[in-house]
């Protein structure tokens, strides 16, 4: 039994002289291509930020800047209020994440372990919301947020306009429920015999066992809310309450921002997610992979 993973081309073929050469050439070619396509634009963004506006405007761009003006980052931070907008975004992301997790974990736990009447109907109705593109609901969702039925409040320009719709995330509920389904009921039954209530079972048994799935759901929730553009653009019209993405879009049309400051703003806005990615790349990439295999 060969248990070693093999792919399209066998190791034996690669070990041949001809194979080795082709492999090395292919590998090098692909590596160069990847650096040029995926890493170089990021380098360009950071380097353009430290160039002077004059150097940026030259018809032949310079690969390495003549002068390094790192103070542009500081200027952009203050002039474009990058810090303010990043703080806004972080607030929306963290708050949205906490609310999403609380609401969706409770719902998934109820659907998976407490199994109420009509639970399956509710799950189906939630999943149905995945079928239609979020953009199709944009206008009615906007109107809903502007005047929430029953309660009759206007959530526009408040964080709740981002937080509450984000909690209606069928994808999260589904993933969490499927994970909870795998936790043996015997565990919960024995806890119940010991006198644990529903909440205690969730808190002391289900959640500690679900750390991996909670991590994946959390990371993706935070990334999604940091990247979101269209919805915040609609519901946060007060410039002071905008997210970094919406603010950058607005500033890109403003004439008082020079190109190098804009590049600095873009670079600063992308640093948090790049850092998150480099720290959590293992869980992020394996979360994506698991998604592909299980659908």
């Amino acid at each position: 039994m060969s248990t070693t993973a093999r792919t399209l081309i066998s190791d034996a073929d690669l070990r041949r002289r001809h194979g080795k050469l082709v492999y090395r050439l292919g590998f090098a070619g692909m590596a160069i291509l990847f650096v040029l396509i995926f890493v170089f634009p990021l380098y360009w963004m950071f380097v353009s930020a430290v160039k002077t506006p004059v150097e940026l405007a030259q018809p032949t761009p310079t690969l390495i800047p003549h002068e390094w003006h790192f103070e542009t980052f500081l200027v952009a931070w203050q002039k474009l209020e990058i810090g303010h907008f990043m703080l806004n975004t972080a607030l929306y992301a963290v708050g949205g994440w906490l609310i999403q997790l609380t609401v969706d974990v409770a719902a998934a736990y109820a659907l998976s372990k407490l199994r109420p009447l009509f639970g399956n109907v509710i799950l189906a109705a939630m999943l149905a919301s995945l079928m239609l593109p979020a953009a199709a609901l944009l206008v009615p969702a906007y109107l809903t947020v502007a005047n929430v039925p029953i309660i009759g409040v206007n959530l526009l320009n408040t964080p709740w306009a981002l937080w509450l719709p984000a909690a209606a995330n069928a994808f999260n509920v589904y993933i969490l429920k499927r994970f909870f389904d795998q936790i043996p009921n015997d565990l919960l039954d024995s806890a119940s015999i010991d006198g644990a209530g529903r909440f205690r079972m969730l808190w002391n048994i289900v959640l500690p066992l679900s750390r991996p799935v909670l991590a994946v759901v959390s990371i993706f929730a935070i990334i999604a809310s940091w990247k979101d553009f269209l919805w915040p653009l609609l519901v946060l019209q007060d410039p002071q309450s905008q997210t970094i993405s919406v603010a950058l879009s607005r500033l890109s049309f403003a004439s008082y921002v020079t190109q190098n400051e804009m590049f600095a703003g873009l670079a600063l806005a992308s640093i948090p997610l790049i850092v998150v990615f480099l720290i959590f790349q293992r869980s992020i990439l394996s979360g994506l992979s698991a998604g592909a295999l299980k659908g």
């Binding site: 081309i9 990021l42 719902a107 939630m126 953009a135 269209l230 990615f277 994506l288």
Partner: protein
């Protein structure tokens, strides 16, 4: 084992028979118990149900209702039947918007669906540094979309942009990129592919890693060439992943907004005359002409391109129609 089985079945039967006289009481407590359980379950579900009801199910119904109404959001709405649909269908720009969206989707599928598959196939053959390739390809997906789009806008810049500099370096005439009607759509697709292909590549890689090695060994023994191995082993084995990604791609590309919204404006916020973002433009005009929001609900699919109320800074540029 076989002998024990009937025992187990019998026990509950005898147990139930002895309790027949007190059955009704038991049933009542059981019912109460069940009600209490359900009530508790619904307590846990309540917040989720409320969020879904308010922000997912209600807007869906409201969207359908609105599409049959005339509503200026000041006075009470009136029912107008299919008028909104007729108005939308009669609008020549509506067809253009659809054609543009379909063209974008087609091109984005060509690039965004096929390219990651080829890339994943190649990376999967590598025996070293696979992890680094995976990180690199997913890196653009971690940028906020606005960052990638604005970054590429500078690359496309006809004056001091990187692409024209490269072209002039190899002695080719400069291109108009986003400002040329022929290239603009390709430009949008390139940005969108660059920033979104990471996820697809990672998913393809996961699928490739799951193909049993024995299959390749077997067909290789039969003398299958690399191309035949791809055709008869890889693709059939990847059927599920390919299907899922096709659906995901279609759904996400049909909803494209930020690329046309941001790329085909010039610095002052004006649209170019012959840019391809008619979807975005359509909304700018429609808002001016009809004033109502209800028509957008009549074609929720293009509702994605609705132009938000301009922020103070950009209002001067955005309001001017073309």
């Amino acid at each position: 084992m076989v002998l024990q089985a009937p025992d187990i079945v019998e026990k509950p039967v005898t147990a139930r028979m002895t309790t027949v006289p007190r059955g009704s009481v038991r049933n009542r407590t059981r019912l109460r118990r069940k009600l209490a359980d359900n009530a508790q379950a619904y307590v846990f579900l309540a917040a989720g149900l409320l969020c879904f009801a308010l922000f997912s199910w209600y807007p869906l119904v409201k969207g359908i209702v609105l599409s049959f109404q005339q509503d200026n959001f000041v006075t009470a709405p009136s029912w107008v039947g299919l008028d909104n649909y007729r108005a939308v269908l009669a609008d020549p720009l509506f067809a253009t918007a659809w054609i543009n969206t379909l063209e974008f989707t087609g091109l984005a599928l060509l690039f965004g669906y096929a390219v990651p598959f080829v890339v994943a196939l190649v990376i999967n053959e590598f025996r070293h540094a696979k992890g680094l390739f995976r990180i690199a390809v997913y890196l653009p997906a971690m940028l906020p979309p606005i960052v990638s789009v604005l970054l590429w806008r500078y690359f496309y810049d006809p004056g001091s942009g990187l692409f024209n500099a490269i072209l002039s370096f190899v002695h080719l005439p400069p291109g108009g990129w986003t400002q040329s009607p022929r290239m603009a759509m390709i430009c949008l697709v390139l940005v969108s592919t660059w920033s979104n292909m990471g996820g697809a590549t990672i998913m393809y890689l996961a699928g490739l890693a799951n193909i049993p090695a024995e299959l390749y060994d077997a067909v290789e023994l039969d003398g299958a060439s690399i191309w035949q191995r791809i055709r008869h082993v890889t693709i059939p084995q990847m059927r599920f992943v390919l299907l899922v990604l096709l659906l995901l791609q279609i759904v996400s590309t049909m909803q494209v907004f930020i690329e046309p919204y941001q790329l085909t404006h010039d610095q002052s916020g004006h649209h170019h005359r012959d840019d391809p973002d008619l979807p975005v433009r359509l909304h700018g005009q429609q808002r001016l002409r009809h004033g109502g929001r209800d028509e957008r609900a009549a074609f929720p699919r293009t509702g994605r391109i609705l132009r938000p109320l301009p922020a103070p800074d950009e209002s001067a540029g955005v309001r001017s129609p073309i």
